[in-house]
Amino acid sequence: MSAPDTEPSLGGLLRHMRVAVAAFAALLVGLGAIVVLGVVAPSSASSVIMLVLLAAMVATVLLFSMEVPQEPPLTRFFSGLGFAWVAILVGMTLLDYFTR
């Protein structure tokens, strides 16, 4: 039985969540950067930078929130596979539109 008195304080809980808190902060920074680049001060290079930032945020969620590195190799493979297939879908369809 997990007796209630063994439960830590909020600080105690957060001490066990250092990685998650760091990821949280990183995601908020990423969001801020995207908003600045896209809404507050857009420039011609913004789109590319935003896509890179998006990729970084996606990686952050996968690696730290969803703990992919702690999963067995197979799950890691699955998470990569999904994005590879999205790339096929989008890439080959756009190939059509760019060669029309």
């Binding site: 879908l89 080959m92 190939l95 760019f98």
Partner: protein
């Protein structure tokens, strides 16, 4: 050799008939025990019943199509009725028969048995996917028959979204629902094959049947969601005017075709890969020989499942896609032929110098190999840009895919049904009838569909029921073939059901085949194995044929 023989017997010290625990069929008899079962074997039989019913509906529609095409001027049905009939045929056969056919029945039944597991990883999910399948499919079927839909199985926009005056919306809803059943089945298989293998059952000890189902399940997972979203987009556009394909607003209907074929080309491998798995079990068993090039077949399976995702554009060559893209899709489509051919060579090499027994399953398997080759080769014609300009949208395409889907998948399905029938039911089917119907189907099939290659090459378009009178002879030939084919299908339906009560009782391994599923009694007990099997043998461990043999002596 000795250890492997021992391991084979180990899991099932085949008990005498008397006093053995009740098998999965006789464990309980209530209706409830069937409709709420979580036993993968019973669910497989539920699927078998459901898809057989859908097959009958699809076949009746096919009969009506062939009936109409006997005369050139389309007198028998009105245009609208004809359109509705071929839509029933296409939707039911593709979505409700071929796609679930082998995986949901044989795959469900056999995967846990073949890898030495007690059940699939998620038994309740398995039952749920049956209900989703039956619910969605019946819903669509009711709509197709009571209301009628005239879009064909492909639901191309903008006809389906804007111009069709038929009941497209319920059909879309039903097909979307059925997609979830595919996804859940695929998910269940992937997890089961990864997580539930018996000790010692390494990847390269799995039967090819399991490999092909693994590849199929990956396609289920990676492709089905895309058709789901494509159909949702159609549905929202037709029902609420919320959509992205409307050309009147500047939308591009070809975008729908991209999404559609991103699923539907891989879906043809959903239909054909499990059949390849069935053939890979039957051929070694009836040649009593180790399968040739096991690893190559396994790799070719995964190869097919991957390449199949990058060729979808070959369905759109004349629909306005970019030339650059068309060339890329054409070249990649040729590449699909390589792993397909690897498999054909491997089966042929397995048969070569084997101790061949030409029983019903083997007859189907040999038919499969021949027809698959024809279907695949004509696929290469179609993948060639210049030829496709000429034959796209003609009966040549119809013949091509029927050679693979009927000549391939359907023969594999029947072959597998006969091969594992003793395991499913504990009874043997009548061999003579089996052979007769296998021959009827092979002949009927070719008479039906070969003329369609000629018709297509001469320029007869698909999906019309009036045609120039000079095509009548070939059309009559095709319709006549369809009656032979129909007889060939009727026989098994009768004698297989007959055998449930009157068939000879089957032993655990009536074919002398290898594989864990043959080590349990026929039919298997509810928990599959009396003891947890431990696998220390290679797959297809058939005894080596005598070295100095010319092989021919054993044929027959």
């Amino acid at each position: 050799m000795s250890t492997s023989e021992r391991a084979f017997r180990d899991p099932a010290p085949a008990p005498a008939t008397i006093g053995r625990p009740p098998d999965y069929l006789h464990e309980s008899h209530t209706l409830r025990s069937w409709f709420l079962t979580t036993d993968h074997k019973r669910i497989a039989l539920l699927y078998l019943a459901a898809i057989t019913a859908f097959f009958v509906v699809g076949a009746i529609a096919a009969g009506l199509i062939r009936l109409s095409l006997v005369v050139p001027n389309g007198e028998i049905f009105t245009n609208d009725t004809y359109n509705k009939i071929f839509t029933v045929h296409g939707v039911v056969m593709v979505w409700f028969f071929l796609i679930p056919s082998i995986p949901a029945t044989f795959g469900n039944f056999l995967i846990p048995l073949m890898i030495g597991a007690r059940d699939l990883a998620f038994p309740r999910l398995n039952l749920l996917s049956w209900y989703i399948f039956v619910g969605g499919a019946l819903f669509t079927l009711a709509d197709l028959i009571i209301g009628g839909v005239d879009t064909g199985w492909t639901f191309y926009a903008p006809f389906s979204t804007t111009f069709s005056n038929t009941y497209v919306i319920p059909a879309l809803i039903g097909v979307i629902i059925v997609g979830f059943s595919s996804i859940l089945t695929g998910l269940n298989f992937v997890v089961t094959i990864h997580a539930m293998r018996a000790p010692g059952m390494t990847w390269f000890r799995m039967p090819i049947f399991v490999w092909t189902h693994y590849a199929t399940s990956l396609i289920f997972l990676l492709a089905t969601p895309v058709i789901t979203i494509a159909l949702i987009l159609l549905l929202m556009e037709r029902a609420f005017g919320i959509g992205v394909f409307d050309p009147a607003l500047g939308g591009d209907p070809v975008l729908f075709e991209h999404l559609f074929w991103f699923y539907s080309h891989p879906a043809v491998y959903i239909m054909v890969l499990p059949g390849m798995g069935v053939i890979s079990e039957i051929v070694p068993a009836f040649a009593q020989k180790r399968i040739f090039g096991y690893r190559f077949i396994a790799y070719a399976t995964i190869g097919l499942a991957s390449i199949t995702f990058v060729v979808w554009g070959h369905h759109m060559f004349v629909n306005g896609i970019g030339t650059g893209a068309a060339v890329v899709f054409s070249v990649l489509s040729f590449a699909v032929a390589v792993p397909s051919a690897v498999k054909v060579y491997n089966w042929t090499a397995t048969i070569y110098k084997g101790r061949i027994r030409l029983q019903t399953p083997m007859l189907y398997a040999m038919g499969y190999i021949g027809l698959f080759v024809l279907g695949g080769l004509t696929g290469l014609f179609l993948a060639t840009l210049a030829i496709d300009e000429h034959v796209h949208g003609t009966y040549f395409v119809v013949a091509h895919f029927h050679y693979i889907m009927v000549g391939g998948t359907m023969l594999a399905f029947l072959g597998g049904l006969h091969f594992w029938w003793p395991k499913f039911t504990g009874r043997l089917y009548p061999e003579a009838w089996g052979r007769i119907s296998a021959f009827l189907i092979f002949i009927g099939f070719n008479v039906t569909f070969f003329p369609q290659f000629l018709l297509g090459y001469l320029g007869m378009p698909r999906r019309y029921h009036d045609y120039p009178p000079e095509f009548q002879l070939l059309n009559i030939l095709s319709s006549a073939g369809a009656t032979i084919l129909a007889a060939g299908y009727l026989f098994p339906m009768v004698y297989l059901i007959w055998s449930l009560w009157f068939g000879e009782r089957a032993s655990a391994n009536p074919w002398g085949a290898r594989g864990l599923e043959w080590t349990t009694p026929s039919p298997p007990p509810a928990h599959n194995f009396a003891r947890q099997p431990i696998v220390d043998f290679e797959p297809y461990a058939y005894p080596d044929p005598p070295a100095d043999d010319d092989g021919a002596a054993h044929v027959g």
